[in-house]
């Protein structure tokens, strides 16, 4: 069970990731972390002090890192690999697919700074397609962590499973949403509030923006419901359909391309179940990433609470 603890405080998710792994290593000597020369950026190099032989820096070679992780899993280890999202999803895709998933090896992946979270690293380091790629891998589990409590739970849950498991999250500070100690269910969406006019399905860092949009919409007499679809695959179609029932419109809101990600997954469920509700995907529309602050990028790609409000009002015919 989860409960909300929405405040304006932020937690750095890379710190949560590393602390969670170190905690897991205290009781499980099969947990091992790998990074591709970003150990200081992720903070994973801290493991050198706590568990010296449980951190491997493979150098700048993500495909190799993925294969090594898969090989380690073949002899009983539980590997977690990290790099920036595009480098542990797009660059090493065939290794994840073949050496990982097809061979039934286990690779847990932390893709950091997805989408606009890339900030000053810019277009070369941007991933607006990682969720789409990872969804395509048979049997893979794909998550987008909206806050530290959820990320910690996801990492601990991945450590118990066999297969390819991907979680994307901002390394840096992200607003707290859930109360510490909350538990969740893989493949089950978190319904964050009640609302009768419009359903907003979102995931990751944008969940807090969606909640902000809710407040603005309420001032305009629009009652919006938000669900945190943190597990994009498998998608919780049951909750989605239940929440969509009776709504005037449904929107997806994602820090990702509208092709192949959360919005596509939601559209598939709505269409196949003949829900026939007005529907709009808010995400990145056939564009490459670029450089700038997170705030600038969020605004540039229309991934703000304000844009969500405007799009919602348009969809409802109130603009």
């Amino acid at each position: 069970m989860f409960s909300l603890d929405i405040n304006n405080e932020k937690t750095e998710l890379a710190k949560t990731f590393v602390a969670t792994l170190i905690e897991l290593m205290k009781t499980d000597d099969k947990i091992i972390a790998l990074d591709a020369d970003l150990g200081s950026a992720s903070g994973l190099e801290k493991i050198k002090k706590t568990n010296p032989d449980r951190f491997i820096d493979v150098g700048i070679a993500e495909a190799n890192m993925t294969g090594i992780a898969a090989g380690l899993s073949a002899v009983g280890f539980i590997p977690f690999i990290h790099s920036f999202a595009p480098f542990v999803s797009r660059r090493n895709y065939d290794q994840l697919y073949m050496a990982g998933a097809y061979a039934h090896n286990t690779v847990n992946i932390f893709g950091s700074d997805p989408g606009f979270a890339v900030g000053p690293n810019g277009g070369t380091h941007t991933s607006f397609e990682d969720v789409a790629l990872m969804r395509e891998i048979p049997e893979a589990i794909v998550c987008d962590a909206s806050d530290a409590v959820l990320l910690e739970w996801i990492v601990k849950t991945f450590a118990k499973l066999k297969g390819i498991h991907y979680v994307r999250a901002n390394r840096k500070g992200v607003k707290n949403i859930y109360k510490k100690g909350s538990t969740f269910e893989l493949g089950k969406a978190n319904v964050l509030n009640e609302g009768k006019d419009i359903l907003i399905v979102c995931a990751g860092q944008l969940v807090s923006d969606a909640l902000d949009a809710c407040k603005i919409l309420a001032d305009k007499n629009v009652s919006a419901q938000v669900i945190d679809m943190f597990c994009i695959k498998p998608l919780d179609a049951e909750t989605l359909l239940k929440c969509a029932a009776g709504k005037k419109a449904v929107m997806s809101f994602e820090n990702h391309s509208i092709v192949g990600g959360l919005g596509s997954a939601v559209a598939e469920v709505l269409a196949e179940n003949a829900v026939g509700v007005k529907f709009k995907r808010i995400g990145v529309n056939d564009r490459f990433g670029e450089v700038g602050s997170q705030e600038y990028l969020q605004k540039t790609f229309g991934l703000t609470a304000q844009n969500l409000v405007e799009q919602a009002l348009t969809l409802l015919g109130k603009n």
Binding site: N64, G67, A70, G71, L72, V75, H104
Partner: protein, 286 residues
């Protein structure tokens, strides 16, 4: 190695070669050239070096083979069948729907297959991970990583080699099957690999050259590599694509062979009879 041991090895090689030919002729096509070039290597590895248990293929203390050039699956299957991992009759089911013997090895399907391979280059990193795991577990297990010379076109091999050398994974014995040909022709014409042994030395490997058609030479190279305790090791196997059957050694497109005309079928049948006669014969007459 005693003369008797050597003769046993040569007989196993002949049997593996025979089974590859029968298997692929039965199917009507297959990756013949690169399977034949590894016959003697497999024979030596399974007879002298690998710790394995055909009754318990997943035995956790076993040594492993990662056949990164997965298209040579037939040589591995022929070896495994001869060592009792599965019934020999199953060899004829190669590539049939629902078979346990897919063209490229699948660790989930075949008893004795330690790693799934086929997407070239990827076995190198997998073997590096396995060797790292053995080291972390403080066991004396070995993983034998078999890579094709054509496969070295794949950049991932060199990423993995850098790692294996940097981490001093002496328990990952890299064996490069230098049969000098790849699908489209000679390796020197497609993408000249230059001197592979020198390249491996430059990458930090203790590198030994061996005659890949000679069990004794392969065995001596393996002994030398296993003496190294503080660095990466590599055996550059000088082999011939289609090895051991003159017709197929000289056959231009011997990467994947189609047995679709009387001449090529007769060549395979002649080789089969020759090997059968050899195996029927007295060891002293070999």
């Amino acid at each position: 190695m005693t003369k008797e041991q050597l003769l046993d090895l040569k007989r196993l090689s002949a049997q593996i070669r025979l089974d590859i030919l029968k298997m692929l002729l039965h199917m009507g096509y297959g990756h013949l050239g690169g399977s034949l070039s590894l016959v003697e290597t497999m024979s030596v590895l399974y007879s002298k070096y690998l710790r394995y248990d055909p009754k318990n293929p997943r035995w956790t203390d076993r040594d492993m083979i990662v056949l990164s050039k997965g298209h040579a699956g037939a040589v591995l299957y022929a070896a495994l069948a001869n060592l009792g991992f599965f019934d020999k009759e199953i060899l004829n089911s190669l590539n049939e729907g629902g078979t346990i013997l897919p063209s490229h090895p699948d660790r989930l399907k075949t008893p004795g297959i330690d790693m799934t391979t086929g997407s070239l280059g990827q076995g190198t990193s997998l073997a590096a991970g396995i060797a790292t795991g053995f080291k972390l577990n403080k066991t004396d297990q070995y993983v034998y990583l078999i890579v094709g010379d054509g496969e070295l076109n794949e950049g991932q091999c060199w990423e993995a080699f850098q790692y294996i050398a940097a981490k001093k994974l002496n328990n990952c014995i890299v064996m490069i099957d230098i049969n000098k040909k790849q699908l489209d022709g000679w390796t020197k014409d497609i993408l000249n690999p230059f001197d592979i042994a020198k390249k491996m030395e430059a990458f930090g490997f203790f590198t030994v050259k061996a005659n890949g058609a000679d069990e004794e030479s392969i065995s001596m190279a393996l002994d030398k590599c296993r003496e190294i305790k503080d660095g990466a090791v590599c055996i550059a196997l000088d082999t011939t694509k289609g090895q051991g059957v003159k017709y197929f050694e000289n056959y231009a497109s011997n990467h994947s062979v189609k047995f679709n005309n009387p001449e090529i079928i007769k060549a395979a049948e002649d080789a089969i009879s020759e090997l059968e006669n050899y195996l029927k014969g007295d060891k002293k007459n070999v």
